[in-house]
């Protein structure tokens, strides 16, 4: 019996005319239901590409991705993506942005009143219900990211894919959203794959950390288990031995064994 999400010998080569770039090679990874997995690696190694492959937004050129015994071949709401730059539609209000997803996914199965409840429930979850009638241009970056998360959660996806969701935020807002993310994960038990640049974020949030080697033809370098019990408290962890050891392992991987080399 294969894993909940099985990534099997996946490779991705981009072709433009005669030029080809092999970005990913032979990536294999099994992810269990309810697991929180982080992907970390240097800029340009192909993390977003891998996420897009899982989302189905781009097609694999080798291997295959299997979610609950079905091969991933096209995008769908069962793999909701929170994009790096929130990607809310600026002409819709916060409420309407979430509604776009809810109307599409639950248009047939939920009544109008139920859908409204569901939208508000998800906005409440990220504490954005108060801004339901604001447009994206009228709210802060952190708030936009939260609405993006609400929109993704509202699809009730099998897997939540987060592409550096907190990358563009200041440290305080980021810490706040990380705590919220942990709470949501504890409450709903989603399966989450998150790309990050931030070592602390990866250790704090994840059950496992996937470390990628540098491109071209990047692959999985190492997978680190984070055996910290939940719920996790960032202040207590700051001096926790397991936490520090995990942190050191990731840092060593990134800055000793696979140092960032500027591609020629």
């Amino acid at each position: 019996m294969p894993a909940y999400l099985a990534i099997q010998n996946v490779g991705k080569t981009f072709t433009r005319g005669a030029a080809t770039t092999e970005v990913l090679r032979d990536i294999s990874l099994d992810i269990a239901r309810g697991e929180f997995v982080s992907i970390i690696g240097h800029s340009g190694c192909g993390k977003s590409t891998l996420l897009n492959l899982i989302a189905g937004l781009t097609e694999v050129t080798a291997g295959g991705i299997i979610l609950e015994n079905a091969e991933v071949s096209s995008p769908g709401p069962d793999r909701a993506v929170v994009f790096q730059n929130h990607s809310l539609l600026p002409w819709l209000t916060v409420y309407e942005n979430v509604n776009l997803a809810v109307a599409k996914v639950f248009g047939r199965t939920k009544s109008r009143a139920e859908r409204h409840e569901w939208i508000m429930e998800n906005l409440d979850l990220v504490q954005m219900a108060h801004a339901r009638d604001k447009r994206p241009t009228e709210i802060s970056g952190g708030m936009k990211q939260r609405v993006g998360i609400a929109r993704a959660l509202a699809m009730e996806p099998k897997i939540l894919l987060l592409d550096e969701p907190f990358g563009a935020l200041d440290a305080l807002t980021r810490a706040h959203l990380q705590d919220q993310m942990m709470e949501i994960h504890a409450r709903l038990g989603n399966t989450i794959i998150m790309i990050t640049h931030d070592v602390d974020e990866a250790v704090l949030l994840s059950d496992r950390i996937v470390m990628m080697t540098n491109g071209p033809a990047a692959t999985v370098g190492e997978v680190l288990d984070v055996p910290l019990s939940r719920p996790r408290k960032r202040l207590e962890l700051a001096s926790d031995r397991t936490y520090l050891k995990c942190r050191e392992a990731v840092l060593k991987f990134l800055y000793e064994r696979h140092r960032f080399v500027e591609a020629a």
């Binding site: 937004l57 709401p77 993506v81 539609l89 599409k104 009638d133 699809m155």
Partner: protein, 298 residues
């Protein structure tokens, strides 16, 4: 294709002012004391300079055209010759003898049909073309050439094709105004950020949903700048179009007045056409500003 949203320098979305969308609860609307002095000053600033310039122009014109041998009538003569036309836009003395306001309405109806068709088809065609790199490459040069053909030049072809002056006139308006709509829509669609496409893909929006929920709103600033150019062109085409329809349009009125050497009437009609064209342009601009609230700030 993950082209960055490169701005084509020939087609930029109009810089619509995003109206502040603050929501004020009704109770909070307290009548504020209006500063009458400030309002008057603002009105004066907007109206005095054009009025002064207008007065200068009329004076110069009067002086230049007052000599007995001059070929054009001076303003004072226009006033006396065409007094009826100027003071009453809506008189009806006979089926052919009606005020210019009524004539303008007839012409506007024609423009509404021609331009309405151009708007709907232009957006549809532009959307299809903008979605495909190859169509864009193939068709764009052809459109760039066709859009420079003047309205009058379409007339004979149009007549030959429709054999009837009514549809031909509408076709001339249509064909003159459709190009900027197509071209701007296509550019707008091509510039839709990949992010929005990804959102649509994840949600599995179908073609129709994508068109109405993503494409049209995302490209709206471009579409409206195309529509604004288009409505201007369609009004430009009215004289050419009505040369052959006859009847009571403002375009035909000019043609008719020329044939019976009523120069003063022509001058009055020109002013009407100019004013209506100005209003049309502002109207489309206003609708665009309202519709694209939010989008343009993307």
């Amino acid at each position: 294709m993950t082209l960055p949203a490169t701005k084509d320098d020939t087609v930029t979305p109009l810089p619509f002012k995003a109206a502040p969308a603050t929501i004020v609860p009704l109770g909070a609307l307290r009548p504020r004391p209006i500063d009458i002095g400030a309002v008057l000053r603002a009105v004066a600033q907007a109206t005095v300079p054009p009025l002064v310039v207008l007065a200068i122009i009329l004076t110069v014109w009067q002086v230049l055209c007052s000599s007995p041998g001059s070929s054009l009538p001076p303003p004072s003569q226009v006033w006396t010759d065409s007094y009826e036309l100027i003071v009453d836009p809506f008189f009806v003395y006979g089926s052919q003898d009606i005020g210019l306001g009524l004539r303008v309405l007839t012409s506007l109806q024609r423009v509404a049909i021609g331009f309405g068709l151009a708007a709907v088809m232009g957006v549809a065609i532009g959307a299809v073309i903008g979605q495909s790199v190859w169509m864009m490459r193939g068709l764009d040069p052809i459109f760039q050439i066709l859009r420079t053909v003047p309205p009058l030049a379409w007339l004979p072809i149009s007549l030959a094709a429709f054999m009837d002056s009514g549809p031909s006139a509408i076709f001339v308006i249509f064909i003159t105004s459709i190009w900027p709509v197509i071209i701007n829509t296509a550019v707008g669609v091509r510039n839709i950020p990949q992010d929005y496409r990804n959102v649509a893909a994840v949600l599995r929006l179908d073609q129709r949903e994508f068109f109405f929920k993503i494409m049209v709103p995302a490209a709206a600033p471009y579409i409206f700048s195309g529509l604004r150019i288009g409505v201007g062109l369609s009004w430009l085409a009215i004289v050419a179009a009505e040369m052959l329809t006859g009847g009571v349009g403002i375009g035909f009125f000019i043609w008719d007045a020329w044939n019976s050497s009523r120069l003063s009437d022509i001058i009055v009609a020109l002013v009407y056409i100019g004013l209506v064209g100005f209003v049309l342009d502002r109207l489309v601009g206003l609708v665009g500003a309202i519709v694209t609230r939010g989008t343009s700030a993307a």
